[in-house]
Amino acid sequence: MSRETALNAVMVMGLFLVPLWALWADEPFIITLTTKAAILALAGVGLNIALGLGGLVSLGHAAFFGLGGYAMGILASHAQSYAPIMETPFLIEGTKSMPVIWVIAIITSGLAALAIGALSLRTTGVYFIMITLAFGQMLYFFSISWPAYGGEDGLSIYVRNGFPGLNTLDPIQFYAIVFVILMAVLVFAGRLAKSPFGLALNAARQSPERVETVGITSYKLRLIAFTISGMITGLAGALFADLNRFVSPTMFSWQTSGEIMVFIIIGGVGRLFGPVVGAVLFILLEHLLGGLSDYWHVYLGVLLLLIVLFARGGLIGTLAGKEISHD
């Protein structure tokens, strides 16, 4: 077992045991905090497929995070007010069922990622960073100026959506859902990286010419990776909206894109657990430094700067060695 695998196992144990301890110690706030970290980690795992595996530096993943959030917000608000979303040509009603919302969030953000990716992947380098940013901003400004679903004020959902057989308003039960999804997606992402598709994508990042020479279209690989990546981030957005029972244009803002990217960099680019380590650390810092000083972003900025300048490969890279393990 390599040091990275050991570190990953510690992370999983931590995510499993800390909320259980919090339940025993009657600290519901800790459970909510862990839930937030797990959901943000999920968004990061999504981006990491594009960023770490595909080398696609997307500064617009807030678009998918927000679409997932608004999929939840729109469906639940219609169910809340008993007003159908549309009546002609066929009836579509809102829903308060989590699984249905997830499917719709995944489909919506997947279609958006397919469209945005198809256009953006024509460019490379800085232009790619900027065009993804532009698409994110497009949706951000649209969500602000479109008044039907709250506009700038956002949308509140009074009761958390339901999951068959569980009471989602109980923090630990909602966390259980999030934990299972995060683990399932991590298993999926781990297998994806080792699949022929993942290997080809990795090769296309390192040397597109060689991949093209053996007859693989790297554009297609990247587009599929970008779409899968957007779908996972969209699912995280729906869960995040359910955690807060609130959606607002902030989910679409470019700072959100930046933060999701920060999780990956803190943890380690291209590492399976990079975003998990990063998101947990981010939430921990937000909580600890936020209690210390109102201006905790200064410390976060300094820390981030030190990581970029001196700890290349992120936290996992520093703790477990530079080589990305292939076990």
């Binding site: 460019t123 400004f141 201006y295 972003h297 200064v298």
Partner: protein, 306 residues
């Protein structure tokens, strides 16, 4: 819609455009010469505005305030370049984005720490306030007209600097072949610091000038930064000419779209839906413009072929 209103909006668009150019010029120079994406450029804009507001508050002089904005932003730019940015030139874009994102956090929260969360105000000096009457009977604020004039003058000066002076030759040479000019004996790290400080000074000046018509507050730089990125991407990264044309294009599109689209939609929709649909589309218009430009020309209007 009257022609006078249209002319006013054209001038507003032009004013936004030239101010965006001041921001975009620095960004595009830094990218063209050093190959660096600088997200913290908006923070230098903010520093300029805060320096101007602080100095104007103490001395009451607008000219001194502008000078303070230029100096503070240039000094902050040079300091950041020497301490941090210098280590990022040979890194990939991801590291640059992250490090400069970190700088935004430090600058924004640092400014909030020093000046507090409440916005400061920078007043337009009395000799520049009030409207003037332009040919055709258009009443237009003198200050905004001054902004257009300053912006165009600086654009002209920048073109002269780049095309006629020794520094300009070094900058152009640096864009083409940095090893070669280093081999010819140009102190490359000093040149980089100068270019970075020059871009920072322009951003700081823009911040101070715009700060007088908006409020001076933490976070004021980021919306402008994003617009400036749109500008340089449309114009082609590294091209000053592209930055100027892109800036005016974005300024006009943003301003005219906000006026014309709701009016256009009213011709075939109910007034209330037309207003909301029109303003929703108008707010996305420049990003749509940018996406269209990139799809047709993936390296911008005047960008070098990658």
């Amino acid at each position: 819609m009257s022609l006078i209103l249209l002319a006013e909006q054209l001038l507003n668009g032009l004013q936004l455009g030239v101010m965006l150019f001041l921001m975009a010029a620095g960004l595009t120079l830094v990218f063209g010469v050093m190959g660096l994406i600088n997200l913290a450029h908006g923070s230098l804009y903010m520093i300029g505005a805060f320096a101007a507001a602080a100095v104007a508050g103490v001395t009451g002089s607008f000219v001194l305030a502008l000078a303070a904005a230029l100096c503070a932003a240039a000094a902050a730019g040079a300091l950041v370049e020497i301490l941090i940015i210098r280590r990022l030139y040979h890194r990939d874009h991801l590291d640059q984005v992250l490090a400069t994102f970190a700088l935004i956090l430090i600058f924004s929260e640092g400014t909030r720490w020093i000046f507090g969360s409440f916005p400061l105000f920078l007043n337009i000096p009395t000799y520049l306030s009030g409207p003037v009457t332009l040919p055709g009977g258009i009443q237009y604020p003198l200050y905004r007209l001054t902004l257009i004039a300053i912006g165009l003058a600086i654009a002209g000066g920048l073109f002269l600097l780049i095309s006629r002076t020794r520094l300009g030759i070094q900058i152009r040479a640096g864009e083409n072949d940095r090893e070669m000019i280093a081999a010819l004996g140009v102190d490359i790290s000093k040149l980089y610091t100068i270019v970075f400080a020059l871009g920072a000074a322009l951003a700081g000046l823009a911040g101070a000038l715009v700060g007088a018509i908006q409020s001076v507050q933490v976070g004021m730089g980021e919306p402008v930064l994003i617009l400036a990125f749109v500008v340089i991407v449309i114009g082609g990264i590294g091209s000053i000419k592209g930055a100027l044309i892109g800036a005016i294009l974005v300024g006009l599109t943003d301003t005219m779209g906000g006026v014309l689209l709701p009016a256009l939609f009213k011709t075939f929709m109910e007034p209330s839906t037309a207003a909301s649909a029109g303003s929703a589309l108008a707010s996305m218009l420049i990003y749509i413009l940018m996406a269209c430009v990139l799809i047709i020309r993936p390296t911008g209007l005047f960008g070098a072929k990658a």
